[in-house]
């Protein structure tokens, strides 16, 4: 055991790290490896942001010269701006549609103990399981036939279908920790079922519903493959434009767009915290 004279970090190194009394010192290599993997996960995700302010076409880090030229490129381009508007519109509509649909499905299926309910839940999750490329191709095929191709409505419909499983999972998990007896009490006191749901249940699963809405928004906003096939022309999404640009060259403007997308994601999560009231179950279990 280290005496009182040994400095802080050294004492920590000699302390047991687990039930088997292995010391932190013996595990240092493991901590280093885990730290490296963690860095591998975080750094590339975030590094785009400072790099987007680099004046050089090769996006240096740290930037030798700071510049806003890529942002200027982005904001002054009609193509990019139209695409951004389309993405926002589609995402907003998706959230607006998927949230009530998914919440109702969760409310109807999750508390039930019937086998049919389980089966229906599995069916509703399938958009998450089936490879998106297949969904994209199949939907494209049908949309061509019904002339929904390259339309905002078609895109929103498809994105809503992708978002509904997520909403259902998030809300269902919140409902699991909610005591449904409260609703029964409200109904015994005279409230109709919809009224009981709106006044008793919904306020308490608020955080989950808001998180689900945010996740729906982001699912649509970030979605690439479906947008590639189904949106186009005047209704091309931001992600579609980005993907097409990437296939040709490494356009640094995309770095600026990426930073903005990260900003949007962060803002949406802040929104979730603010409007949801900061519950803790909710979105962590979404995946």
């Amino acid at each position: 055991m280290s005496g009182p004279g040994t400095p802080g970090p050294q004492r920590w190194l000699d302390r047991p790290a687990s039930a088997t009394q292995i010391t932190h010192r013996a595990r240092l290599w493991l901590y280093a490896l885990a730290g490296a993997v963690l860095a591998f996960l975080i750094v590339p995700t975030l590094i785009v942001v400072p790099m987007s302010f680099s004046a050089s076409q090769y996006l240096e880090f740290p930037p030798r010269q700071w510049s806003l030229r890529w942002y200027e490129n982005y904001f002054s381009s009609a193509t990019w701006m139209d695409a951004t508007a389309t993405s926002f519109k589609a995402a907003a509509w998706t959230a607006l549609l998927a949230t009530p649909l998914g919440t109702l499905a969760a409310y109807g299926l999750s508390p039930s103990r019937l086998r049919a309910a389980r089966a229906l839940q599995v069916l509703l999750i399938t958009p998450m399981i089936v490879p998106v490329i297949l969904i994209a191709v199949a939907v494209f095929y049908v949309y061509v036939k019904v002339k929904l191709n390259n339309s905002l409505a078609g895109l929103v419909l498809a994105h809503t279908m992708l978002a509904v499983p997520i909403v259902m999972i998030v809300v269902a998990s919140a409902l699991k920790s909610f005591d449904m007896n409260q609703e029964m009490v409200a109904r015994s006191l005279g409230a109709s079922r919809p009224r009981a749901f709106l006044t008793v249940t919904l306020p308490q699963i608020r955080f989950a519903v808001v998180s689900a809405a945010v996740l729906s928004f982001l699912t649509s906003f970030d979605e690439v493959i479906l947008a590639l096939f189904v949106s186009g022309g005047a209704n091309s999404t931001l992600t579609r434009q980005m993907f097409l640009a990437l296939r040709d060259q490494i356009d640094p403007t995309i770095a600026a767009i990426s930073s903005i997308m990260i900003l949007v994601t962060t803002l949406m999560f802040v929104v979730a915290q603010v409007f949801g009231g900061g519950g803790n179950a909710g979105n962590r279990d979404a995946n």
Binding site: M1, P16, A19, T20, Q21
Partner: protein, 372 residues
């Protein structure tokens, strides 16, 4: 397994603090070779902490620990060569019963043939022969407990530790297992340290019991001594039922409510048999030592004390009945008697005035407040 391989345990000044809370407060304890010692205490008393120190999973802040002649306080848990049974058994779910029991033997490089033989023997000892190929999840709670035991003794450790191994079992099974464990200990002869919060269990199984509370040892004694001669109020209250009288010393004798009491001339624990004038103490009375007698029958026999009391509730409890009574100075006492037909017929009624008799040697004088 020979008794000669059992070793004594010497614990000196072991202390462990978490922040400002002392989980263990300078414990000194000797466990004799081959003894069955129980650490008894309420939850949070430090008994499990002390056991974990013995096992090596908790490093105390100071102190010494010896198994026989070997100082082990800094020895890693996997080198201590002692057996341990955990509260939830901690059986390995990915191995079958035989593999679980063989695990410590494999670690010690025992040959496959020897291994198989010793595993069979261990399973026989715990009465689980033939269940070697079962998987853990197929076993009942009692069976899992036995497997955990078999695994802990198969390598013939010099010391066996048990952390409330019976607490997850139902009452019937628990009581039969208590006796079985004791028989096993007698058969194998290793030094055993057992942790429990159930005083009945402790009294049933142990050679000696160490009562522990707040990280301190309250008393270490045989079950009989703990029950008949508790050394302080905590032990008196924790073990068995008791009523307490406030007594004051006057004229060299202990008096209650002004009346001198006839108490045993043997000095009990730390109490001074020649108390100073005005000294205070409390007198512990066990309910079964109080006899209910009719009031007004004249002075009791020499060596017997009589307390006038008014009866409150008389509660029938199957094998015994409890009489709760109020003494003149407002103290509540309980008297317990076997519920035989004759005794029940003579049982007093509510508000009746009776006399409670107890013999000089059956009450215990204790300091007014227990050691803190």
């Amino acid at each position: 397994m020979s008794r000669a391989s059992a070793v004594p345990i010497t614990i000196r000044q072991v202390a462990k603090a978490y922040g400002t809370v002392a989980a263990l407060d300078c414990i000194d304890l000797d466990v004799r070779s081959g003894e069955f010692l129980t650490l008894l205490g309420p939850s949070g008393s430090g008994k499990t902490t002390l056991l974990m120190v013995l096992a090596g999973f908790i490093r105390p802040d100071q102190g010494s620990l010896r198994f026989g002649d070997q100082e082990v306080i800094r020895l890693a848990p996997h080198k201590r060569d002692i057996g341990m049974v955990f509260q939830n058994y901690a059986l390995f779910p990915h191995l079958d019963v035989a593999a679980n029991v063989a695990y410590p033997l494999k670690l010690r490089g025992v040959s496959a043939a020897d291994c198989a033989r010793r595993v069979t023997q261990a399973l026989q000892t715990v009465k689980l022969e033939g269940l070697g190929t079962r998987r853990v999840h197929e076993l009942s709670g009692g069976q899992r407990q036995r497997v955990a035991l078999a695994r802990a003794i198969v390598f013939e450790p010099r010391i066996l530790l048990m952390d409330e191994p019976l607490s997850a079992l139902d009452k019937q099974l628990r009581e039969s297992m208590q006796i079985e464990l004791r028989h096993l200990h007698d058969q194998l002869g290793m030094t055993t340290v057992y942790v429990t919060h159930d005083q009945r269990e402790a009294l049933t199984m142990s050679d000696r019991v160490a009562v522990i509370a707040g990280g301190r040892l309250m008393q270490v004694d045989t079950p009989r001594m703990l029950y008949d001669r508790p050394g302080n109020r905590f032990v008196a209250e924790f073990i068995g039922e008791s009523s307490f009288l406030e007594v004051t010393a006057s004229g060299g004798a202990w008096c209650w409510n002004g009346r001198p009491l006839q108490l045993s001339t043997e000095p009990s624990g730390s109490m001074d048999p020649q108390p100073a004038q005005g000294a205070r103490a409390c007198l512990m009375l066990r309910p079964e030592r109080l006899r209910i007698a009719q009031a007004g029958q004249g002075s009791p026999a020499p060596g017997t004390n009589a307390l006038p009391a008014r009866v409150g509730d008389v509660i029938y409890q199957g094998d015994t009945f409890l009489v709760q009574a109020l003494l003149d100075d407002g103290t509540r006492v309980s008297a317990r008697a076997i519920a035989g037909a004759a005794a029940l017929a003579r049982a007093p009624a509510r508000n009746e005035t009776v006399e409670l008799h107890f013999d000089a040697g059956e009450a215990v004088l204790l300091p007014e407040e227990g050691p803190r």
